[in-house]
């Protein structure tokens, strides 16, 4: 499967990474190289093999429903880029 510039553009947008046009060919080259590296996988028949998502075959632990976390807003927002009236501020969201 080969990559083209439109793919790189689409991926960069999905990943919210601003890539200027001049950088595109470089990304295309590097990402294509990585894809050729992983291409080797396709040669192996994996019919009937269960995907392995976790290192250990275990089940989820269940936590009791107790509210344990105190309000640490002041502490958390001390390291935020922009806050006002306890809210995180971002450029206007258009709906």
């Amino acid at each position: 499967m080969s990559l083209n510039l439109a793919d790189v553009k689409r991926i960069a947008h999905l990943a919210r990474i601003a890539v200027i046009d001049a950088e595109m060919p470089g990304y295309l080259q590097q990402l294509s190289n990585i894809l050729s590296l992983v291409e080797e996988m396709q040669a192996v028949d994996t019919t009937g093999i269960e995907p392995m998502a976790h290192a250990q075959d275990l089940v989820l632990r269940l936590r009791d429903d107790v509210a344990t976390e105190p309000d640490l807003r002041a502490k958390f927002q001390a390291i935020a880029p922009q806050v006002e009236s306890g809210l995180y501020l971002v450029p206007k969201v258009i709906e």
């Binding site: 499967m1 990559l3 793919d7 790189v8 689409r10 991926i11 960069a12 947008h13 999905l14 990943a15 919210r16 990474i17 601003a18 890539v19 990304y27 590097q30 990402l31 190289n33 990585i34 894809l35 590296l37 992983v38 291409e39 080797e40 996988m41 396709q42 192996v44 994996t46 093999i49 269960e50 995907p51 392995m52 998502a53 976790h54 290192a55 250990q56 275990l58 989820l60 632990r61 936590r63 640490l72 502490k75 958390f76 001390a78 390291i79 935020a80 880029p81 922009q82 995180y88 971002v90 450029p91 206007k92 969201v93």
Partner: protein, 484 residues
């Protein structure tokens, strides 16, 4: 003092031959002197460290000391430590002073250890040379032209140059073992789930695992005793009884079956590394072990599988770095999408962006089955290889890395060749097994060679025993780089 084992340092502290403050000052002094050459640390905060040392001296005086009380430990900058700048090697977190402690940090604090500073690392742990750090390259103390390996290269260089008695690392595809090998120190990545990932900034959640990096296996055992432990805040943390990882250190190796995977001694392994490994194996035979040839037939798939799964998880794990709640936000932007795009483009370095983009691609509509799902299926085959192998041997041995440390800049323009330097370590993460690296000599260029020891699940105590017995018989682990 700088070459003294943790056990001996602890004894000296207990006997008041030295105080924790003095010990800490000694290492802070070495950092002041040598770090400018090595760039092993991102953050040093002498006041914080000394305050902890003072508190530790209080504990020692009142008879409440444990084995690590008063011992300075350098912390990889991937672990969130309350009040400490925690950057993960990235510009994205250049101003992130963590409001909380990682479980590993809490464990060290509880043990009365001293945080000696935060060590440099590849950005978000993505790299094998420590050249991707926003805070500059780390240099290999054995040869300042060489890389220290990565991603825990700062910790490795700090221990190798004796800027710290011990350090922590994390290992997603070899990030403890490969730098340990390249700098001639000992490091162990435990079974997945043994060390809590809470507060360890995530790279690839299903592969990441923290572990110690130190001068010897015996030191690693003491550190792992503190680092390991069940933690409710990590759903993948294993609920197991506390164990003493040093309990079997002195067991003799007679009858030990060492499996040698054919695939790890094939083309691609440089001759000088092969030679040092053979010599180490000869030493093991002298210690009563026997070697058997085994096969891990899907080994060659480990790198491809890893470079699908790890970037996929990373692309999602790193989505939280968006310039909204903490970390870097671009100074200028036109709208929300532009703010995201620019903050992430400017906040992340090239390798991180590459991996996020590859990860995004392999998960995207139309490619998921061919890449992500396929890789997860192959992951099972790779894990199965080890299960089969452990039916025939107690531990597996081979080289940690195919070559000794390469030169700075040698592979930084060629990501794929860089990825291949983890060819022997990656499969262990995919399987979730424990793995370690032990120094076993030097290559043709005088740079260290590491022997990888892979154990079955939860066999850390056995592996440390195997490493310790070798270290009792040899002195590679006591060698210190000269001429710094």
């Amino acid at each position: 003092m700088i070459n003294t084992s943790l056990k001996e340092l602890s004894a000296q502290l207990a006997l008041k031959k030295i105080s924790s403050v003095e010990l800490t000052q000694t290492f802070l002094g070495r950092i002041r002197e040598l770090n400018p050459k090595l760039n092993a640390f991102i953050t040093i905060d002498e006041n914080k460290s000394l305050a902890q040392a003072q508190a530790a001296d209080g504990l020692i005086a009142s008879g409440q000391a444990g084995p690590l009380t008063g011992i300075p430990v350098a912390q990889k900058d991937i672990y969130c430590a309350k009040g400490w700048l925690t950057t993960c090697g990235s510009k994205m977190l250049h101003n992130f002073v963590s409001p909380y402690d990682a479980h590993v940090i809490e464990q060290f604090n509880r043990a009365g250890a001293v945080n000696l500073g935060k060590t440099n690392m590849d950005e978000f742990a993505m790299g094998s040379s420590n050249e991707t750090s926003y805070y500059g390259k780390v240099k290999n103390p054995w040869d300042l032209d060489a890389v220290p390996g990565g991603s825990s290269g700062g910790s490795a260089a700090a221990v190798a140059a004796r800027l710290a008695p011990a350090a922590t690392g994390t290992d997603t595809g070899g990030s403890i073992r490969q730098p340990a090998a390249l700098t001639g120190i000992t490091g162990i990545k435990p079974t997945y789930g043994v060390v809590s990932r809470y507060g360890m900034i995530a790279f690839a959640s299903s592969l990441d695992q923290g572990g110690p990096m130190a001068k010897s296996a015996a030191d690693c055992a003491l550190l792992l005793n503190v680092m390991a432990g069940f933690d409710l805040r990590d759903s993948t943390s294993l609920e197991r009884d506390k164990e003493d990882y040093g309990r079997d250190l002195e067991q003799p190796l007679k009858g030990l079956r060492i499996g040698l995977p054919r695939e790890y001694f094939a083309a691609g392994l440089s001759a000088d590394v092969a030679q040092a490994i053979e010599a180490a194996l000869a030493e093991y035979r002298k210690l009563g072990a026997q070697t058997v040839e085994i096969s891990l037939p899907n080994s060659k798939l480990a790198v491809p599988v890893y470079y699908v799964l790890a970037p996929a998880e990373a692309s999602s794990n790193l989505a939280r770095f968006d310039g909204v709640r903490y970390g870097y936000r671009a100074p200028e932007y036109t709208d929300l999408t532009d703010m995201y795009g620019k903050s992430r483009a400017q906040g992340f370095g090239a390798e991180v962006k590459r991996r996020i983009m590859i990860g995004t691609y392999v998960l995207s509509a139309g490619y998921y089955d061919a890449y992500y799902l396929k890789a997860q299926k192959l992951r099972r085959l790779i894990a199965q290889d080890f299960t089969d192998a452990f039916a025939r041997c107690d531990v597996i041995m081979g080289p940690t890395a195919p070559t000794t440390a390469f030169n700075l800049g040698e592979k930084s323009d060629d990501p794929v060749s860089m990825y291949l330097s983890d060819i022997y370590t990656i499969a262990v993460n995919l399987a979730g097994l424990p793995g370690m690296s032990v120094p076993v000599g030097f290559g043709a260029n005088g740079r260290p060679v590491g022997l990888q020891i892979i154990g079955n699940y939860f066999s850390e105590a056995k592996m440390l025993n195997v490493a310790h017995q070798y270290q009792k018989a040899t002195d590679w682990h006591t060698r210190i780089p000269q001429g710094l």
